[in-house]
Symmetry: C2
Subunit: 360 residues, 2 copies
């Protein structure tokens, strides 16, 4: 018998929409009447090309992708992009350091060539992202400015698109498909799929053709790591993660059926408000980690004023079928990840548990 499905607040890989999982299950042995699983199918077939096309087209529609840009599907996650960005766009990029993920991106830039830190909240424990109008120290001639749209660990998020007069590169791994975004203002957007867009093992790129159709790196860069190599082959220079792209197509179509990115953004704001309201209502019990102006709608991070009570809170959550709220070791405390597939009812349940804990 199937166990009751949990209220899943995992930071990633994380909740997927139940209708998507049910469809995957229903057609697992026989996709589209073909008499075989989607996993058993050559990627070089019209049927799989159709699946990849569905994923691509849904992303184009959802973001209103301008013709200047195209969609690519790669492997290796954001971590491989930390290297592929400087390998493809050139050395000397500038980075906004909002902790962990952007720090890792800077480390790879400095391994391959050099990266410049244009802004950092390290001194403040990465509790904030730069606000509109705040100065960014972007060196003259920097080939790009890189930022991490949402930081899962510190629970911070950009609520504007930074401007610096150089092409923007954004890591959207933890808030892709969660809200509308001006893709045309970016040279390159990349995202590991495993939080808001699908299972792990697929990386989504929304990329300006000036980077996907012309290579700007060194001649020693392996072809497999050049964006042009994959773009010329419609993301199938080598065998892609076919199952992952298939699930991603279903997730993107599910987002459209929910009303698209505007609807997802409204839903994300409502879910986050539910939790932040409880946290703010009990300052003697909870402390939000991020500065208010930088609070993430995806990852709500907070600590207990009395940390000795944390085990009791986790036990109460567990009793309510809530999982995945233990904070990352860098911050401690608690973290609730509210990605697209986390139902509002699950967030309400968590808010009830927090409120009962605060009152008790």
């Amino acid at each position: 018998m199937m166990a009751k499905r949990k209220h899943n607040f995992n930071a990633g890989p994380s909740a997927l929409p139940l209708p998507v999982l049910e469809q995957v299950q229903a057609e697992l042995l026989d996709f589209d009447g073909q008499g075989l699983s989607i996993m058993e199918m050559s990627h070089r077939t019209p049927v799989f090309e159709g699946v990849l096309g569905r994923a691509r087209d849904a992303l184009i529609r959802l973001y209103g992708l301008p013709d200047s840009h195209e969609v690519m599907f790669l492997q290796g996650g954001a971590s491989l992009q930390f290297a592929q960005v400087p390998l493809n766009l050139g050395s000397g990029g500038a980075y906004i350091d909002t902790g962990t993920w952007s720090s890792k991106a800077i480390k790879e830039a400095n391994t391959i060539g050099h990266g410049a830190v244009a802004w950092s909240s390290k001194a403040d424990g990465f509790t904030a992202v730069p606000q509109p109008g705040e100065a960014l120290a972007v060196p003259d001639g920097a080939p790009y400015l890189h930022y991490t749209s949402n930081n899962t660990i510190y629970g911070t998020q950009f609520h504007h698109v930074p401007e610096a007069g150089v092409p923007l590169v954004a890591d959207l791994s933890s808030d892709i498909l969660s809200r509308p975004l001006d893709v045309g203002a970016h040279g390159l957007i990349y995202a590991g799929a495993q939080k808001n867009a699908g299972p792990s093992g697929v990386t989504v790129l929304l990329i300006d053709r000036r980077y996907s159709r012309a290579f700007h790196g060194a001649p020693t860069v392996p072809h497999i790591l050049r964006y042009v190599t994959q773009a010329e082959k419609d993301s199938m220079y080598n065998t892609p993660n076919t199952f992952g792209i298939y699930v991603l197509a279903l997730v993107a179509e599910w987002v459209e059926a929910q009303g698209g990115l505007t609807a997802m953004a409204a839903r994300a704001e409502a879910k986050a408000r539910t939790l932040y309201d409880v946290i703010d209502a009990y300052p003697g019990v909870f402390t939000g980690h991020a500065a208010r102006h930088s609070r993430s709608l995806m990852n709500v991070t907070f600590t207990l004023v009395d940390p000795t009570r944390q085990a009791a809170l986790l036990a109460a959550a567990d009793a309510a079928d809530i999982i995945g709220i233990k904070g990352h070791r860098s911050v401690g405390g608690l973290r609730a990840s509210l990605y697209n597939a986390v139902a509002p009812a699950s967030v309400d349940r968590l808010a009830e548990v927090l409120e009962a804990f605060a009152k008790g």
Copy 2:
């Protein structure tokens, strides 16, 4: 209603064992009573670490892996390994060129630094692999000799382990788990999973710790591409393809349940013999592509003496629920891929169709 499952001879991604697919389907919404899908679970949980451990341990048992070696799971397929091998083991490696895949590996070696061709069957249309005792031109000081154990396109396969006095690197993408192999004689074995070991998007490494625990490349190699980076984190430096590793664990355990690699080899030999016997029995109809001593047990490649009859043969196969036997464009003709999960009954069915076609 589910369509009848096909006799699936796809070259890759390709057939998976039906019991594996049925298990994946049964537990898709609720893995191990956790109340969530395997895809919805953080990789940093004891439950997923257990799954990765099952995959690793099954591979250790199946190959009798020596303590000198360890198992790793990466992303990016063999194509990324074409680059990672010279990036990690150093420039100047020697390559046995048996077509397409080894040619691509040589191209990446020459992009990153330089690679030497130690042997090539290019002049013979890649119909053969070197035989035991045949001379290999390995330059003094070459850090490794690379070979492609099985070539899917030309239908050739090594039936011995080459010897050259330097560490061996083998691409086992299309015959991993199909027969016993002396892993200890190799410095590094890698394989994309999508033919014999699981779905696409997972790369298996059986690697000597001298390469996984010490880095031998240049300081400009991105950390994400260094074997040491992933080995130190048990293949979880970044989020792995969790679903792919899970399916791979089930496939490896299925291979064990069938009797392990010795049993799979006997089964592969019997299946291949069934087809080669028909091809050889009708030399006026069929022409095997590969030289007999180099014939692959995984990919049986052949052409029709009268190529105008090919459409009729494909139609007869289609009527018998047989798919995936059209040859690769480089060779033309036909190709039947006989990976582990292809049932002997499916091969018998194809042999019947070929024989009826030859007689008709």
